[in-house]
């Protein structure tokens, strides 16, 4: 923590005064989200939306998903639990009365699974699979700009940084969150958060465990890895 040096002329502060001073300074520091403190993981204040997994919350800045912006989830193949990771988020978005748009998902979206997860499928819209990449990105941008679309999910692999930046801006405009599912990591992507999800390697054969690595997150400076139980949400 920072050291507070009292002005030389004044007598040294008593213990109680020092305590209130640090409190004030802490308050000032925490109140300003533009200030980044390298040592403090949750330093951005608690403005994120909880992911529903306490282990994941611990390694994400703001203890949760950002309110707006672009999240990339990298998984070597589909079926690693990448959607399970978003279920609590989807639930809270649907409860807010906002909609979820799935843009050209790789397989048929299976409604009974969403019902089992407690998501109102009346607020789910799907853009069909055979949409061209250009149209899909156009749809994603438009959807991100729309405030009623709380969450936009898209499956795209190689996207140039310019496109990602544009989507990021669209998300900031509409106050929405976009999630891109990819197979490969692109190093210099401007997304707010890049996560990698793998099947847990340590627990051989464990079905519910997954290993999540935060490759990049705004306000975070080093990659962090955690193991989460996908079916044990807080």
């Amino acid at each position: 923590m920072s050291v507070i040096r009292a002005p030389s002329g004044t007598p040294g502060p008593t213990a109680g005064e020092a305590c209130t001073h640090t409190q004030h300074i802490d308050e000032l520091l925490h109140g300003n989200p533009n200030l980044w403190r390298g040592c403090d993981m949750a330093g951005q204040g608690c403005h994120g939306r909880s992911t529903g997994f306490s282990q994941l919350d611990d390694i994400l800045p703001g203890r949760g998903w950002p309110d707006r912006g672009l999240v990339e989830i990298i998984s070597p193949c589909w079926g690693m639990g990448e959607l399970q990771l978003l279920i609590p988020l989807m639930r809270s978005i649907v409860e807010q009365g906002k909609w979820i748009l799935w843009i050209s998902p790789p397989y048929l979206l299976y409604a009974p699974a969403l019902v089992q997860a407690g998501i109102n499928i009346g607020q789910v819209l799907v853009v069909k699979l055979d949409t061209s990449c250009k149209d899909a990105l156009w749809s994603m941008e438009k959807a991100l700009q729309t405030e009623n679309c709380g969450l936009v999910l898209a499956w795209q692999n190689y996207l140039p940084g310019r496109v990602l930046r544009r989507l990021q801006l669209a998300a900031a405009t509409g106050d929405t969150l976009g999630v891109l599912f990819k197979h490969h990591d692109s190093k210099y992507s401007p997304s707010s958060i890049r996560l990698q999800i793998k099947g847990s390697s340590s627990h051989k054969g464990s079905f519910t465990e997954a290993e999540v690595t935060v490759i990049k997150a705004r306000g975070n400076f080093r990659p962090l890895t955690t193991h989460i139980d996908l079916y044990q949400q807080v």
């Binding site: 079926g79 009974p112 799907v126 853009v127 959807a143 405009t173 509409g174």
Partner: protein, 520 residues
């Protein structure tokens, strides 16, 4: 019949209106002679009558055969007939199973009441024949709306020119024409009233007390003593505008200012009539080719020029034209009532600004967002989303935006349905219908459209990597009645690379393994 000279009776021919029309010639009497000779009143009264000649004359068309039809259809037919009757009169009002037109103002133009009658008769008979209804109708002409209606209902087909003669003409009618309820009829009958003239003799105060003011009002209206408000037919609005370009255009962007101007006209038109539109047809005409038609559908009736322009631009962005455009045409195919809304006192913009923003770039975005939060739609409702879906459908095609639904069905491939995003006004209803009807066993997020057969190598299942079964089986046996017998044991499995699969084994002869979904 007290005054036979002034109340001409037309014979009704039930077989066809054409014959009735030919008998209508009997009634053509010059009005002045009618007044002067028949009544023999003083010159002053005749002059008075002449000055009153401009008072309206109402032609009632009564169609008793409509009564058997359901009410909405009645109204629809009457609307159609009213549209036809606009040919002879500008004021057409609706009454139960009847239409009443004002014909005094058209008398001179058509040259007599029988011309009008014949004309109407032809139109109405042709229309009735088209609907496969019997083509007779009852009619009457009198100086009051209610009077005409009562006369027409009686089937007397009478023509009464003068208000003074109405009392005697109506007096002959039976009380049935008033179409009272059973209790009132009974009471009238018990009072010894059989015809309207019996009512004339009764004191109005007592009648009002016994039968209510509506009853008395109707009679007074028939006699022309009180004014008669009517619900008049308004022709449906139509908007069709064309613009010939001074030179041919190939670049659609150049067309946008023209379109903007046309939309401005349209919005002005809609605003004046307090209407909105939800379906437009914008066509681009080419020389020596057919025209390119762009159908613009709106999810919510609108009359916002900006919104329409936005949709048209989206259509243009996806459009290639076969030849240069020589003219543009805009037609409104559907009008709707315009639903207004009021702005909230505190806009969401303010909330956004009160929060701390992360960087200056975001502030710029906020100001850019004004375009989207422009009050085209109510900001708090689903209007915003509707606009998005309209745009998506305009660009991707009508059937590319789907909503999903869960169905109570054992067979996994039929338990989920995708439907076009259409009438989505009752999402709450849908959720209730769905929530209880899901299987208890876990279901995967992704389902393969075609199950993929799995290989077995050295006694182990392989997809891309080796597969180990985690839980199961869940037996599903269904659809034996449809020929495609489904007998499967479903398992939850895990691939070696961490992928979670939903696989099944056929219970048929060859016991093959299939991959059916992913627990993403």
């Amino acid at each position: 019949m007290e005054d036979p000279e002034r109340t001409k009776q037309l014979t009704l021919s039930p077989t066809g209106s054409m014959r009735a029309a030919s008998t209508a010639r009997v009634i053509r009497l010059p009005l002045r002679t009618d007044v002067a000779t028949a009544t023999g009143k003083s010159r002053a009264t005749a002059n008075h009558g002449a000055s009153k000649r401009r008072s309206a004359l109402w032609y009632a068309l009564y169609l008793p055969q409509l009564e058997a039809l359901p009410r909405p259809q009645q109204q629809q037919y009457l609307n159609k007939l009213a549209a036809l009757a606009q040919e002879v009169s500008s004021t057409v009002s609706f009454h139960p199973q009847a239409l009443i037109f004002e014909i005094r103002s058209s008398l001179k133009y058509f040259g007599g009441i029988d011309v009008i009658h014949r004309r109407l008769g032809q139109l109405v008979a042709a229309q009735l024949a088209e609907w496969a209804l019997s083509d007779h109708f009852l009619y009457a002409v009198s100086p009051t709306v209610t009077g005409s209606l009562l006369l027409a209902r009686s089937g007397h087909n009478a023509l009464v020119y003068q208000k003074d003669n109405l009392r005697s003409a109506l007096g002959r009618l039976s009380t049935e024409v008033l179409q009272l309820n059973r209790e009132q009829n009974r009471r009238l009958y018990n009072m010894g009233v059989r015809h309207l003239r019996d009512i004339w003799r009764l004191p109005p105060a007592g009648l009002r007390r016994r039968f209510g003011s509506d009853f008395l009002n109707q009679l007074n209206q028939a006699l022309g003593k009180v004014p008669e408000p009517t619900r008049n037919y308004l022709p449906p609005p139509a908007f069709l505008t064309c613009y010939d370009l001074p030179y041919e255009l190939e670049n659609l962007d150049r067309l946008l200012p023209v379109a903007d101007e046309i939309f401005a006209q349209l919005c002005d038109f809609l605003r004046r009539r307090d209407l909105g539109t939800s379906q437009l047809l914008f066509s681009l005409q080419h020389e020596k080719r057919g025209c390119t038609e762009i159908s613009i559908g709106l999810r919510q009736p609108s009359r916002s020029r900006k919104h329409l322009m936005l949709l048209l631009e989206t259509h243009f962005s996806n459009l290639s034209i076969p030849a240069p455009v020589t003219a543009v045409k805009l037609e409104v195919t559907q009008f709707d009532a315009f639903v207004g809304y009021s702005n909230p006192l505190q806009t969401s913009e303010k909330w956004g600004q009160s929060k701390n923003s992360f960087d200056s770039g975001e502030n710029q975005q906020r100001s850019g967002r004004k375009f989207y939060s422009d009050p085209i739609f109510p900001p708090n409702s689903r209007g915003n989303l509707n606009q998005l879906i309209e745009q998506l459908q305009a660009r991707l095609g009508e059937h590319h935006v789907k909503s999903i639904n869960s169905v109570a069905e054992h067979c996994p491939e039929y338990a989920s349905q995708q439907a076009d995003y259409l009438e989505f006004d009752t999402p709450g209803k849908k959720r209730e219908a769905v929530a209880t009807q899901v299987a208890l066993h876990p279901r995967p997020f992704w389902l393969l459209e075609q199950p993929l057969q799995l290989r077995i190598r050295r006694g182990r299942l392989y997809h891309r990597k080796a597969i180990t079964i985690v839980s199961g089986p869940e037996r599903i046996e269904t659809h034996w009645w449809s020929g495609t017998d489904v007998r499967r044991d479903y398992y939850v499995a895990r691939e070696q690379n961490g992928s979670r699969l939903w696989i099944y084994r056929e219970r048929g002869a060859d016991k093959r393994w299939f991959l059916h979904g992913f627990f993403a």
